[in-house]
């Protein structure tokens, strides 16, 4: 949280026309749809889950 807060304070003002790299499809701040089965397998085979857009424990016979 502290690192993110520091980043916010020191963030440069980025105009819309400067966002060509930020808006690249592979710069998205989320897992890819093609990773869905890997994430599902991790929720079954590992004790931890969540904070990644996937299941947090319910909705499946996972942990």
């Amino acid at each position: 949280m502290l690192l993110t807060g520091t980043s916010v304070v020191s963030c440069a003002q980025v105009k819309e026309y400067q966002k060509s790299r930020i808006n690249d499809s592979e710069m998205v701040l989320a897992n890819r749809k093609v990773e869905k089965t890997e994430m599902s397998a991790q929720s079954y085979r590992e004790g931890a889950s969540g904070a990644n857009g996937g299941k947090t424990g319910g909705g499946c016979g996972c942990n």
Partner: protein
């Protein structure tokens, strides 16, 4: 004098033309747009796992503890969008997933290994969201259902809200509830035997029998005689999961953006699985017994950086802790390399390490006087590595056809220090 007059006339004419332009903010020409198909995503995966120490056999390391799994997963998501009179974007998504699996350990729900070793999972989803681009807000609702391999049924509901900040940030919050029912299919040695085939018969009661094929029958006795038999009636127990998710995304500069996500999770109800065995140190076996409450707190950080003109660094770290004593760290790095603007290769690596829950012990290590016990190695102490490669094609004229806008293919190898190893290959097709 003539030159001055002509100059003044010219300036006057320019001023008249300047005031004849229409306002750039005139929205009177805006028309709402009807619902139209926006995109379709199809994801298919094949998963193959080898393992021993299965939870069904209480963590045994011999051939009966085999934990080999294959899974064929298929899913489709269809998204429609429309724009209303207030220039807000409505998005409707419908999805359907169908998975088919085989699991060698499932056969040992029957002690002789004759139980059904395969199953299916079907899970539809429905989502709606509305985006107000003027205010920078988005609100959404979602519905989810899952019927898993005959033993697990789940209903999920969620609502979400997000708002953009003036400095290229975005706050988000999501509330999720899962309301699950677990059918109590127990190992065969704990299922009541059909007493009509033995010398003694019960009085008034209902006897549940699970056959080797996995079907369950409720046999109803009255005055010691079988009154009726039916295929349904196996008892079930609930499991409820409540999650509050908080997120914050921030553009840091023209090449870097980051996010933080935190989930607060509370689970209650039957939190184990009814066919997971535990063997005590005296050789006797039972079904695992876990507490009926669990609090979880995962916190995840993402940092993406565009290095040079062709390389992207996608970093992720998660810390996890819960009240069962489990702590874990997850770290991953993916490096998409743009060979051309429309073709990229993405090698990746993921490391995971966890401590065991307080209630875990290996095969024949638990004592009968413990209150809670499990030998499920997903809750043991271990570390894992995962690595692989992804390919992404997104040419402007489509892949093989104009409507197929993106094709992604991904391979991953996963291994744990518990002797579990898996390979998964996945394909994503996006149509627009």
């Amino acid at each position: 004098m003539r030159k001055i007059c002509l100059t003044v006339v010219g300036i006057y004419l320019m001023m008249i033309n300047a005031y004849s332009q229409t306002s750039a903010n005139d929205s009177s020409l805006y028309k709402p747009q009807k619902l139209k198909l926006d995109e379709v995503n199809i994801v298919s995966s094949y998963y193959n796992q080898t393992a021993d120490k299965s939870a069904v056999m209480g963590g045994r390391t011999d051939s009966k503890g085999i934990g080999n799994v294959t899974d064929l997963a298929n899913g489709i998501d269809i998204k429609f969008v429309s724009w209303d009179k207030k220039q807000r974007k409505n998005a409707f998504s419908a999805g359907l997933g169908i998975d088919y699996h085989t699991a060698a350990s499932q056969a040992y729900i029957d002690t002789n290994g004759k139980a059904r070793n395969n199953g299916m999972r079907i899970y539809p989803t429905f989502d709606w969201s509305i985006v107000n681009t003027k205010k920078g807000t988005e609100f959404g609702l979602g519905l989810y259902y899952s019927a898993e391999h005959n033993y697990y049924h789940s209903l999920g509901l969620n609502t979400s809200f997000s708002k953009k900040t003036k400095s290229n940030g975005e706050f988000g919050m999501k509330l999720i509830g899962y309301f699950d029912n677990i059918k109590m299919i127990k190992p065969s040695e704990f299922s009541t035997v059909d007493s009509s085939t033995t010398n003694s018969t019960p009085t008034d009661s209902v006897v549940y029998v699970t056959t080797a094929s996995g079907r369950t029958t409720a046999i109803i006795y009255q005055n010691g005689q079988v009154v009726s038999k039916s295929r349904t009636g196996l008892p079930s127990k609930p499991r409820d999961t409540y999650t509050a998710e908080f997120s914050f995304d921030q553009v840091i500069n023209t090449r870097m953006q980051a996010s933080i996500v935190m989930d607060i999770v509370y689970q209650s109800g039957y939190l184990g699985l009814p066919f997971h065995r535990v063997y005590f140190n005296d050789g006797k076996d039972t079904v695992e017994n876990l507490p009926s409450q669990r609090f979880k707190l995962p916190i995840g950080f993402r940092l993406n950086y565009f290095l040079g003109d062709n390389i992207i660094l996608r970093g992720y770290y998660r810390f996890y802790i819960d009240n069962w004593g489990l702590k874990s760290h997850t770290a991953s790095l993916e490096v998409p390399v743009k060979i051309t603007p429309f073709f990229s290769l993405s090698p990746f690596y993921r490391y995971y390490v966890q401590t065991a829950v307080k209630y875990f012990a290996p095969y024949e290590a638990h004592t009968a006087n413990e209150q809670y016990y499990t030998s499920n190695y997903a809750l043991a102490a271990f570390s894992s590595h995962s690595f692989g490669l992804g390919i992404r094609l997104a040419p402007p004229n489509g892949v093989l056809m104009k409507s197929l806008s993106v094709l992604e293919l991904r391979y991953a190898h996963y291994s744990q220090t518990t002797n579990l190893a898996a390979d998964v290959i996945s394909l994503n097709l996006k149509f627009r």
